[in-house]
C-alpha cells in the first residue's frame, strides 16, 4: 500500500500483539469466549461470501422474471434462491439491487464509512474502504472508473449510490456476450466482487481453442 506517513518498524507486530491482548482480556473477563472470534470469521469464510451474490447475478441473467423481481423487491427475489440462512441478517436487513443496462452503469460507494451488503458480497475489499476512493468516486466517478479499468463513453449514465442510510446496494452487472447457453454455475464463475460494486464489468470469456467461428 502507498506510504504517505512514517510508521514504526514494528507497526504490524505491535497491532497484532494489541489485538491478541484485547481478545485475551475480553475472554478472561467473560465478555466473549475463546471460540467467538473464530466462529464469526468462519461464518464469513464459509457462508456469507461473494458466491451468494454471484449466484444471484447468474440467476438474474438467465431468468427475466427473477431479474424483474430482483429490481423491484430484492429481498423477495433473494429468498427464492437456495442460499445460506441469514441473507436478511446483519448488514443484509435491507438489501437493494441496482441493475446495469445498456447505457446505464451503477456504482456503489459509502462516503461516511464502509456500508456493505455482507450476506450478498461478504466483507468489503480494502479499496472500497479507502478514503481516497470514497472521496473521489463521489465527485469524479467517470475518472475513477476509467482508472480502475471501466472506461465509459459520455452518453452512458453513471448512477452513483452513496450508502448513508439503511439500504445496502449491490450492482447486477451486464451479462457478457459469448455466454449464450451457459449454465448458472458457469455464469456465476465469471462474476467478480468488483463487478457487483460497479468498479468492473464482467468481460466476455476468452474464446477457447477450436471454437473459433
Amino acid at each position: 500500500m502507498t506510504q504517505q506517513f512514517d510508521y514504526p518498524p514494528d507497526r504490524e507486530a505491535d497491532s497484532a500483539a494489541k489485538v491478541r491482548a484485547l481478545e485475551a482480556l475480553l475472554i478472561e473477563k467473560g465478555v466473549i469466549t475463546p471460540t467467538t472470534v473464530d466462529k464469526v470469521l468462519g461464518y464469513f469464510e464459509s457462508e456469507m461470501t461473494p458466491l451468494n451474490g454471484k449466484k444471484i447475478v447468474a440467476r438474474a441473467w438467465v431468468d427475466p422474471a427473477f431479474a424483474e423481481l430482483l429490481a423491484n423487491d430484492t429481498p423477495a427475489a433473494i429468498a427464492q434462491l437456495d442460499l445460506p440462512q441469514g441473507m436478511a441478517g446483519a448488514e443484509g436487513e435491507h438489501i437493494a439491487a441496482v441493475i446495469n443496462q445498456p447505457g446505464v452503469h451503477n456504482l456503489v460507494i459509502c462516503t461516511l464509512c464502509s456500508c456493505f451488503p455482507w450476506p450478498v458480497l461478504g466483507l468489503p475489499p480494502y479499496w472500497y474502504k479507502d478514503p481516497t476512493f470514497r472521496a473521489r468516486a463521489a465527485r469524479e466517478p467517470r475518472t475513477v472508473l476509467t482508472e480502475l479499468g471501466v472506461p465509459l463513453d459520455d452518453t452512458t449514465e453513471v448512477r452513483v449510490w452513496d450508502a448513508s442510510g439503511h439500504s445496502r446496494w449491490f450492482v447486477v452487472p451486464a451479462r457478457p456476450a459469448g455466454t449464450e447457453g451457459w449454465t448458472e454455475e458457469q455464469l456465476a464463475g465469471l462474476v467478480t466482487t468488483e463487478s457487483m460494486i460497479g468498479v468492473a464489468i464482467v468481460p466476455p470469456p476468452p474464446i477457447e481453442a477450436g471454437t473459433a467461428r
Binding site: M1, V40, D162
Partner: protein, 246 residues
C-alpha cells in the same frame, strides 16, 4: 466541520489503491471478529425486532456497541490520523479505547498483556460458554433492522428538497458534501427508520421517514462536475431535508 463528515468530493488526492483483499494482515481478522461479537452482544439488542437477550447468553458485556459507536470513534479522529491509519487500525484503536472507557479492562492491563504477547510469552486464557457464541451467530443470521412502524413521509416522490445544514455534532449520517444542495425525491422508504443512537441536534434517533434523493452533479460540484450524465443517489433521513422554496 470534520473532514470525516465531508470526505465525499475531497480534492487533490492521488490514485485509488486498488487492493482487493479484505484483510491485508492476519491480525485484522481478529479485530473484525471482536467488533462483530460486541455488536452481537450489545445491550441495545434487547430492543431489536428479533428480541435478543444477550445477557441471558452469559456474557458479562452490559454496554451498547453498534455501528454508531464504531463510526463515532473514526469520526473523532484527527483527520491526518484518519488518513494515516489503515481501516482496521482505526477499529483496533476505537474498540480498545471503548472497552477501557466502559471499564471491561484497564489501559495498563491491555499494555501489559500486549507486552507479554509481543515477547511471545503469555497465552490467552480459556473460559466461557456456548451461549455467547450462539447469540453472536444468531445476531448475524437475524440482523438488527432499524425499521419501526409505517412510513409517515412529509415529501412525495418528485418533490424538490433542500438538504439541511444542521449543527455539526460528534456523529452524523449526512454526507457533508450534500449540505445546502437541492435534490429530487427518487423514492420513499416503506417504513420509518430509527437510528442506533440520538445524534443530538443533527436529528437522528427516533423513527423517521427515509428517502432516496437524486442529485445532479452540477448542482453539487458546479462547474467542476464531470461531463456526461452521472446522477448521485443518497439515502437521507427526513430531518436532513427541507422543502425547497423557489
Amino acid at each position: 466541520m470534520k473532514l470525516q463528515h465531508a470526505l465525499g468530493g475531497l480534492e487533490g488526492l492521488g490514485p485509488v489503491d486498488f487492493e482487493k483483499n479484505v484483510f491485508v494482515e492476519d491480525w485484522e481478522k481478529r479485530i473484525f471478529g471482536i467488533h462483530v461479537a460486541l455488536m452481537g452482544l450489545s445491550s441495545s439488542l434487547r430492543d431489536s425486532l428479533p428480541g435478543y437477550d444477550p445477557q441471558a447468553a452469559g456474557t458479562t458485556f452490559r454496554s451498547t456497541w453498534t455501528w454508531a459507536d464504531l463510526r463515532k470513534g473514526a469520526e473523532a479522529m484527527n483527520p491526518f490520523d484518519y488518513f494515516k491509519f489503515r481501516y482496521y487500525e482505526k477499529w483496533l484503536g476505537g474498540i480498545s479505547a471503548y472497552c477501557v472507557e466502559q471499564g471491561y479492562l484497564s489501559a495498563d492491563e491491555l499494555a501489559q498483556a500486549a507486552g507479554q504477547l509481543h515477547e511471545g510469552t503469555g497465552t490467552p486464557p480459556s473460559s466461557g460458554g456456548a451461549g455467547i457464541d450462539d447469540q453472536v451467530i444468531r445476531y448475524l443470521r437475524e440482523g438488527d433492522s432499524p425499521r419501526r412502524g409505517p412510513a409517515t413521509p412529509r415529501f412525495p416522490v418528485g418533490d424538490t428538497v433542500l438538504v439541511a445544514d444542521p449543527p455539526h455534532g460528534a456523529h452524523t449520517r449526512l454526507p457533508g458534501y450534500l449540505r445546502g444542495h437541492r435534490g429530487v425525491i427518487q423514492s420513499v422508504a416503506e417504513g420509518n427508520y430509527a437510528y442506533f443512537c440520538s445524534t443530538g441536534g443533527d436529528g437522528l434517533g427516533d423513527p423517521v421517514p427515509v428517502y432516496v434523493v437524486r442529485f445532479e452533479p452540477a448542482e453539487i460540484w458546479g462547474d467542476t462536475a464531470e461531463a456526461g450524465p452521472s446522477p448521485l443517489y443518497a439515502e437521507l433521513y427526513e430531518p436532513y431535508l427541507l422543502p425547497a422554496t423557489d
